[in-house]
Amino acid sequence: MSRLLRQPMIVAGGVLLVAVIVASAAAPWLVAADPIKPVFGQRLQPPRGLGGAAGHPLGTDNLGRDILARLLYGGRISLVLAASAVALAAGAGVVIGLAAGLVGGRLDALVMRLADVQLAFPVIMLAIAIVAVVGTSPAALVSVLALSGWVLYARTVRAAVLTIRRLDYVEAARTLGAGDLRVVAVHILPNTLAPILVLGSSQFATMVLLESGLSFLGLGLQPPQPSWGLMLAEGRDYLSNAWWLATVPGIAISLVVLGANLLGDGLRDLLDPRLRQ
């Protein structure tokens, strides 16, 4: 723990992320305004301090909705979606990677070629295709994101399995009668945990960006849901006369991405034995 706290990147990233997560989770207690219902008389009010009213610290958007409320409620959606996508991608990737590494042979070849095919598709195109078939919904969005992310885990875990399974202690465990499942659970998985953790936290940043990007393009969440990407998209048209509409969610996205990347890099440095002094 003390070693953890001596890593400035982990501390900074962690504090940033935790602050955003806590604020989003506490949205109903932090702001009273409704993030969805339009208030026609109050359109495009600037943030407080720039001539705006006290009731709307970050101003109001093109339908008179409180931007702080939309930001926090939007954070709930954006963060939950990104986290579910990472969890789904990591879960699927780890299982696939383990299977490919342990079974080997045809299954391995098949899975790895599948991964190659997957990597050849740009995520946005894949998203357009999937949305065209199943329509836009949070579940579809999480699936698209997870689909874009599983390869990373599968490859990492497979590589780890191939290395570890030939190590002497694994061989020893086998000779003592340990079955496949026990070898995986006790010897292999714990050894792959570190890289998965690192991957997961930097991928969280990618997922937040991707979710915003897809929603921005109209392929993700649909209005009037408050999602950061949607807020950005709606604010784009008002850049010249109400810049805060797009700027506020833009800053929020940058902060979360920065936090997750710092955390990921810090964890990598911490867990990589070669970087340890």
Binding site: F40, G41, L63, A132, G218, Q222, P223
Partner: protein, 504 residues
């Protein structure tokens, strides 16, 4: 800096005028034509073929290169262009008398052969986008070099209106159209110079244009800048002189910029959100009625469009044949709730499909409508889809309400009625089908404007009662121009026409 330049220019102008009087009309005309106008349009041009698009921006560009037989003024009057006069001989025959002494840019004369070639080409080559309009042509006959008779399979009263949108081509284009449209010639006020796809078109003045003293500038460039903020920034930086499709929210910013003027005019466009009449919600007239009652159109016009729209009093906007005043649709959420309750609807969800980024502020308006409908207990799920995907969904019938507008580009509603309120036209759109309306549309195709007006009024009364569509507002077209432009007219049909515009 500014003052001496101005006075020198004024001095030169004065001496030019004196010289012009001395040297005759030719020198005066050369003197009058100067400058270079650059326009910024919202939509990219896709073709140089006047028969192969229904795009407003393509029309804006190509109308400078090709002339149609008739023109339509901003107050919806049909006036001579390449045809000096036209009249219906009977319900299925039109006769056109052509203008003499007009030449294409390559020097070939404009005659009846040009009209025959252009009309037969658009009818026979069904791959051309405008071809479907001209399928009703039976024959195009040349009576003499400057008289053409067109016979039609059924009455075609809107033919002159449609012809305002069809540029005349030289018969020499036949056989090698690809080469022709690489460097097209027309009879218009500007010659085609070059086209950089997706970016801009360069045109130069046609010194021998048949309208005297026009055009007023030497060069015309049309740039394609889809994003409004970029377009507006270019205008404010004085890189361009005119932009179209300005949003209401941008007006005050632009007005406050020195050297920029904002112009607006009631457009020939009605917004109309159509129901899918084969799905449960759209099928039930009570639901359509409740939706209509629950939408506060005046709030949308006043608060979201900042007054840049007008309340609808009939499906056809004012100025066009068939417009009539049936009174505004009321806003009455209590009545809407009562109707839904009586009809036994507890929970009702409407799929509201939008074509992404097509109409200004559509997402904002759709969200406002969703909030209004939720007040009466209707849940709206907005689906903002890529245009192609949205159209597929529409063809497949996967929507309850579809966000759309209709610009009556020929300044005539026949096309709108034929497309949306005949069985054949609406088959893949709304599934509208009503024998009474179908009959009236057919009867309203005759050339006699009095008959057309009467039939169209009857159609509109039926539609107003049945509400297969929600007509939320008539649009207003907003343009912003540099104050150096002279004589710019804000067109109701969204065209940016610069034939008669000069630049200081």
């Amino acid at each position: 800096m500014e003052k001496p330049r101005l006075s020198r220019r004024r001095f030169l102008l004065g001496s030019g005028a004196v010289l012009g009087v001395a040297a005759g009309p030719r020198a005066a005309r050369a003197q009058a034509r100067r400058g270079h106008i650059i326009a910024g349009l919202s939509e990219r041009m896709l073709t140089l073929d006047p028969a192969n698009h229904y795009s407003i921006s393509s029309t804006s560009v190509l109308r400078h290169v090709y002339d149609p037989l008739l023109d339509v003024t901003n107050d919806d009057k049909f006036v001579p262009a390449l045809a000096e006069s036209w009249k219906p001989v009977n319900n299925t025959t039109w006769r056109f008398t052509l203008r003499k002494g007009v030449r294409f840019h390559d020097g070939t004369p404009f005659t009846a052969d040009s009209v025959l070639f252009t009309l037969k080409r658009v009818r026979d080559n069904t791959k051309l986008i405008k071809s479907f309009v001209y399928q009703d042509l039976e024959d195009v006959r040349k009576d003499d070099d400057y008289t053409v008779t067109v016979t039609t399979k059924r009455p075609f009263g809107s033919l002159p209106a449609h012809l305002t949108m069809l540029g005349m081509l030289p018969p020499g284009a036949a056989g090698n159209e690809d080469a022709f449209f690489g460097k097209p010639v027309g009879t218009g006020p500007f010659r085609f110079v070059s086209w950089t796809h997706g970016d801009h078109v360069d045109l130069e003045a046609n010194a021998k244009y048949w309208k005297p003293a026009l055009p007023k500038v030497e060069k015309l460039t049309v740039r394609f800048i889809p994003e409004l903020s970029t377009r507006a920034a270019a205008l404010r930086a004085a890189e361009i002189h005119v932009i179209d499709r300005v949003w209401p929210d941008m007006v005050s910013t632009l007005r406050a910029t020195p050297g920029i003027k904002v112009l607006d005019t009631p457009a020939v466009e009605a917004q109309r959100w159509h129901f899918q009449l084969a799905r449960e919600a759209g099928k039930d007239p009570r639901i359509r009625k409740a939706v209509s009652l629950a939408i506060d159109r005046n709030t949308i016009i006043k608060e979201l469009l900042l007054g840049y729209a007008r309340p609808v009093v009939s499906p056809i906007p004012p100025g066009l044949i068939g417009h009539t005043n049936l009174g505004q649709k009321p806003y009455d959420p209590d009545k809407a709730r009562a109707i839904l309750k009586q009809a036994g609807y507890q929970t009702l969800t409407l799929d509201f499909v939008l074509m992404k980024d097509l109409y200004p502020k559509q997402l904002e308006i759709a969200q406002a409508v969703a909030a209004m409908l939720s007040e009466v207990g209707i849940k709206v799920s907005i689906r903002n889809l890529e245009i192609a995907t949205a159209r597929e969904q529409r063809t497949a019938g996967n929507y309850d309400l579809f966000f759309s507008g209709w610009a009556h580009m020929p300044h005539d509603p026949d096309w709108y009625f034929g497309q949306w309120f005949t069985r054949a036209g609406a088959e893949k759109l709304t599934r509208f089908s009503d024998p009474r309306v179908e009959q009236l549309i057919a009867e309203g195709r005759v050339p006699d404007p009095k008959v057309r007006q009467q039939k169209y009024e009857e159609i509109e009364k039926i539609l107003w009662e049945e509400e297969p569509e929600i007509w939320p507002y008539y649009s207003v077209a907003i343009y912003a121009i540099s104050d150096k432009l002279r004589n710019f007219e804000a067109r109701r049909d969204y065209y940016v026409l610069l034939h008669e515009v000069g630049i200081a």
